[in-house]
């Protein structure tokens, strides 16, 4: 949980850099990392992909009907949104750009996946769902405070807003499940 929060801060500080970059006109490049559409697309796509992989792990390990249904929804929804995102960046001619934020998202998800791979039964279900609550909360916060405001292309911004509505529903769903698993 702490790490997920740290991630949110990493995204937030990148956004500060991006903001100050914007102010200093588009002419000269600065040493600061800026968040442009290419980075935003990469972060959003990576987040979706990581949640797909997490869902696949849950479908392999969990026998709880509600947890499996939730994981199936994550798989279905994040795939659908990422397919749309891929079609959009192709259309816009934006090449998603790897960046420190998507890298730390990936590192964090890899670490959680390895940790909970050793769990089973209710312990696994709780760990997976807790992870889903934290992950969606962090991604939603990043979308709201950073990625959506920073997105330049209206169509990308719109897709991110759709994503926020969807992932907020996911977060609520995960929170409800977490309570049931208490």
């Amino acid at each position: 949980m702490l790490r997920v929060m740290f991630l949110g801060m990493a995204i937030a500080s990148s956004s500060l850099a991006a903001a100050s970059n914007d102010n200093s006109s588009s002419a000269a490049s600065t040493q600061e990392t800026s968040i442009g559409d290419a980075e935003i697309a990469h972060i959003a796509y990576t987040a979706g992909q990581l949640d797909v992989v997490a869902a696949q792990q849950a479908l392999e390990r969990s026998t709880n009907k509600d947890v499996r249904a939730f994981a199936a929804t994550m798989l279905r929804d994040h795939k659908a949104v990422n397919d749309l995102a891929l079609a959009l960046v192709t259309k816009l001619g934006v090449t998603p750009q790897a960046n420190p934020v998507s890298q730390s998202l990936t590192d964090e998800a890899d670490a959680v996946r390895a940790r909970i791979a050793k769990l089973s039964g209710k312990a696994f279900d709780r760990a997976y769902i807790d992870r889903e609550v934290g992950f969606h909360a962090a991604v939603n916060e990043a979308l709201r405070s950073t990625l959506i405001p920073a997105a330049q292309h209206p169509e990308l911004k719109d897709l991110l807003e759709q994503g926020l509505a969807l992932f907020s529903a996911h977060q609520q769903h995960a929170e409800d499940l977490a309570r049931e698993l208490q």
């Binding site: 659908a80 759709q162 509505a165 969807l166 529903a169 609520q172 769903h173 409800d176």
Partner: protein, 79 residues
């Protein structure tokens, strides 16, 4: 017509009756279902798609999305 947009069912038309056709218009990228709690209907609407359904049973039907349980609505059908 009942639209689905940004993870919400739009308002349901008034004065519906048994035999009427409902057009479910899903404007989201992800699939949703419209599932009656009394199971008198259960329809899956793929992302960015339209599906039609005839109302078969009178009464007040609470419905939800099986994929996203927080999505809810009520459909009332006169005989």
């Amino acid at each position: 017509m009942i639209s689905i947009d940004r993870m919400k069912f739009d308002s349901v038309p008034a004065n519906l009756k048994v035999g009427d056709t409902i057009r479910w218009v899903n404007r989201d990228a992800v699939p949703h279902t419209a599932t009656a709690r009394d199971r008198s209907f259960d329809i899956t609407i793929p992302g960015n798609s339209i599906r039609e359904m005839k109302i078969l049973k009178k009464g007040q039907h609470e419905f939800f999305c099986r994929f996203h349980p927080a999505m809810k609505g009520v459909l009332s059908a006169a005989p």
